[in-house]
């Protein structure tokens, strides 16, 4: 993945810093709790949610199982519709392709729709190095770009900023990038949005090249789909003469009809709306309407390696709705930056180490960035069992084992720094195997924690450093479990 996050401290350290920042914590708490409550209501509105979720899961699994066929079919249909398809094995290749395509237009600036794939490959920086300026046009991405910052949420990238901070960023930085912020700008959201509107409109109206990602690609028809709310997507997809879309190969669905599932589950899961304000679909180019030239760059960049992992491949079902972030107690406190990857939260904790491998400290620590509470699985509209993959990846980090890296099967050595952690895990297993030793086990756990290297064992450390541990409940969990048969009511994990 990109160099954007190079030099990030590993998750536990970054999380500890984030947890010590009360403004950030308040912003995050407000945001995640608001979206969480709204999402539950939006989901409750459709009686067939479970069936939609199951269909979404099956469509994606089927697609992944036949990904080679669907990629070829997509290429054919996009080409037949007047588009040009490019294949990029990694970030560098994708960046080279896009840079070349932009240069061929003779332009030195592009407008961009928010796209995780282009963040993942560090496209803006790559373009910059070649003298091409990329303007982010999503309001939150604009805030992030002007603030020389990194996004911290899939859907609301500037979730960590409050209105006062945004005002200051606009007032100080807009003139660097184009139309300056109006005099006497206040921090009301309406005024801030208006300032962004004026600043960006200037760019949209003169832009000749647009760069986007896509939420879905339909193999059968060659149609690409972008789901958004502000209209900046529509601007970038229709006003420029050339459109370049960079899309991960896992974003395929086989048929047009499949969209009926995801256009119902995605908006409700992400923004808790019945439908997002704007959805755009396009199939190649259309005479006299929209871009005259359309390029699709199909991006691998670790996706085929992820596909090779029998447990981990389900992460490729992800439709980037961000519901798992909003319910995650670790994300809520640590924030998105702590994950050190474009994909934060629970999905980031399983996707990033698979896309990038677990060679770096941050990637090796990500599978620990979870309390394994299972809330992420409950909300996921494509039923990715994130806890299952987390445990699988932890095992991989600790014990080593076979992995695929850049297409080659290899055997990963056990992570060095994790030797103590392994010992701790063995100790924990011993404790849990002996019911009578539970109390002792708890003491053992806290003692082994001190043995861990500084970067481990994940958020537990950061948490205990910044908050009091909750009191011990009157009824032990195991007794409660036996008494209530695991809570029995509601949606059980086991199907």
């Amino acid at each position: 993945m990109s160099g954007t996050f190079v030099g990030m401290p590993a998750f536990p350290k970054a999380a500890q810093e984030a947890v010590g920042n009360p403004t950030l914590r308040a912003n995050l708490r407000h945001a995640t709790h608001t979206i969480r409550a709204k999402r539950a209501a939006a989901v409750a509105e459709v009686s067939d949610w479970a069936a939609l979720r199951e269909a979404g899961k099956q469509i994606k699994d089927h697609t992944l199982r036949h990904l080679d066929r669907y990629l070829v079919q997509l290429e054919e249909s996009v080409t037949a519709a007047g588009g040009t398809v490019h294949w990029a094995a990694d970030a560098d290749e994708a960046n080279r392709i896009v840079t070349r395509l932009v240069k061929e237009t003779g332009e030195s600036e592009v407008v961009k729709v928010k796209s995780m794939a282009t963040q993942e490959i560090g496209l803006n920086e790559a373009l910059e190095a070649e003298g091409i300026r990329a303007y982010e046009t999503d309001l939150a991405e604009l805030i992030v770009q002007l603030g020389k910052d990194r996004p911290s949420h899939i859907l609301v990238p500037a979730i960590h900023r409050n209105r006062g901070e945004i005002r200051d960023i606009f007032a100080a930085e807009m003139s660097e990038w184009g139309r300056p912020a109006p005099e006497g700008l206040t921090d009301t959201p309406a005024e801030l949005a208006e300032a962004a509107r004026l600043h960006l409109r200037e760019k949209f109206l003169r832009a000749r090249v647009g760069v986007s990602g896509a939420n879905f690609m339909v193999a059968e028809t060659g149609t690409l789909v972008v789901v958004e709310s502000e209209g900046n997507g529509r601007m970038c997809l229709t006003l420029p003469e050339t459109l370049i879309s960079v899309v991960g190969i896992e974003k395929i669905v086989p048929t047009w009809r499949d969209l009926e599932v995801f256009l119902q589950t995605l908006p409700r899961s992400s923004t808790a709306e019945r439908m997002n304000p704007y959805t755009s679909t396009w199939t190649g180019t259309t005479d006299g309407d929209g871009p005259r030239t359309f390029h699709l760059v199909l991006l691998d960049n670790g996706r085929t390696d992820t596909l090779a992992d029998e447990v981990g491949r389900q992460a490729l079902r992800c439709i980037r709705c961000s519901a798992c972030l909003n319910v995650c107690p670790v994300y809520e406190r640590a924030g998105g930056h702590a994950y050190g990857s474009v994909y934060p939260g629970p999905i980031g904790a399983i996707l990033s180490p698979q896309l990038r491998g677990t060679g770096s400290e941050i990637d090796a620590s990500l599978p620990y960035a979870s309390s394994l509470c299972g809330a992420c699985y409950e909300v996921c509209p494509v039923a990715i069992d994130i806890p299952e993959v987390l445990v699988h990846l932890r095992e991989r980090v600790v014990q080593g084992g076979p992995v695929t890296l850049e297409g080659n099967r290899t055997v990963l050595k056990p992570a060095k720094g994790h030797a103590a952690e392994r010992a701790a895990m063995r100790a924990a297993r011993w404790a849990f195997a002996r019911p009578g030793a539970l109390r002792a086990g708890q003491r053992l756990a806290s003692r082994t924690r001190r043995l861990h290297p500084r970067t481990l064992p994940g958020p537990g450390r950061a948490w205990s450093g910044s908050r009091d541990l909750p009191p011990v409940p009157a009824e032990p969990f195991r007794d409660w479990w036996q008494r209530t048969n695991g809570g029995d009511a509601g949606e059980g994990r086991a199907k």
Partner: protein
């Protein structure tokens, strides 16, 4: 080796453990689609072989039973919920209603697609601007309002869909001006649900699905209307 071959090769090796049951392809490779939409609304042979069985579609085609009148009612409600301004009128009242909407908005110039029913603009003297391929985005930016028809409207989600038909024009005309008036024929153009809408739409055309005016919640999750698209969306349901 090209990256294409490399990626496809990696995919195949990655799937070595997977039984390729319900294969989407016969011995001759993927079956070509002959288009996903038929007038009867079925998806027919557009699907690749084996795909039908691979996915259980036990979800609903629509949520709840409603009469045509109730469906239109729900559409109006959900549109309004997303802060679109909703109006209802008869065919005869439409020109004067459109005239009034322009007057209330202070419209002096209006963009109208070439195929728009001229009667709709017969009760107003605002200056009509043609939707021409040569117009620049800057020219469109100077226009006060746009009026279009739509392809289909979805009641359950409060969505109107434009497909670039002659009475809807190019995508950009409903994007750049700040005021969009969209006329929906009731009940003919109204469906209940997303699945029903997709059946009616042609994926070969560029589609724009609109649920309320442009909005952002990026600043402390406060919803603000109109960052880039039209800040005012008025939907007229014509009975």
């Amino acid at each position: 080796m090209s990256s294409r071959e490399q990626i496809l090769g990696r995919v195949r090796r990655a799937l070595a453990d997977v039984p390729r049951d319900g294969a989407p392809d016969g011995p001759d490779g993927p079956k070509k689609s002959d288009g996903p939409n038929r007038s009867d609304g079925s998806h027919g042979p557009g699907q690749v072989a084996g795909y039908e069985e691979a996915v259980a579609r036990e979800y609903l085609r629509e949520h709840g039973e409603r009469s045509a009148a109730q469906t239109a009612e729900l559409l109006a409600e959900n549109l309004a919920d997303y802060r679109a301004l909703v109006h209802r009128c008869t065919e005869d009242e439409l020109p004067s209603l459109i005239g009034r909407l322009f007057a209330d908005h202070g419209t002096r110039t209006v963009l109208a697609p070439a195929g728009l029913d001229p009667a709709w603009l017969s009760a107003t003297d605002v200056e009509r601007v043609e939707d021409r391929a040569e117009s620049t985005a800057h020219e469109l930016d100077g226009v006060d309002s746009v009026v279009t028809a739509c392809a289909v409207a979805i009641a359950e989600t409060g969505t109107i869909v434009l497909d670039g038909g002659p009475d809807q024009g190019r995508r950009r005309i409903t994007l750049v001006p700040d005021h969009h008036v969209c006329v929906v024929r009731v009940p003919g153009q109204v469906v209940s649900s997303v699945p029903q809408a997709l059946e009616r739409l042609d994926p070969a055309r560029p589609l724009t699905w609109i649920s309320g005016p442009s909005a952002t919640s990026d600043i402390e999750l406060d919803r603000v209307e109109g960052v880039h698209g039209p800040r005012t969306l008025e939907v007229v349901l014509v009975d």
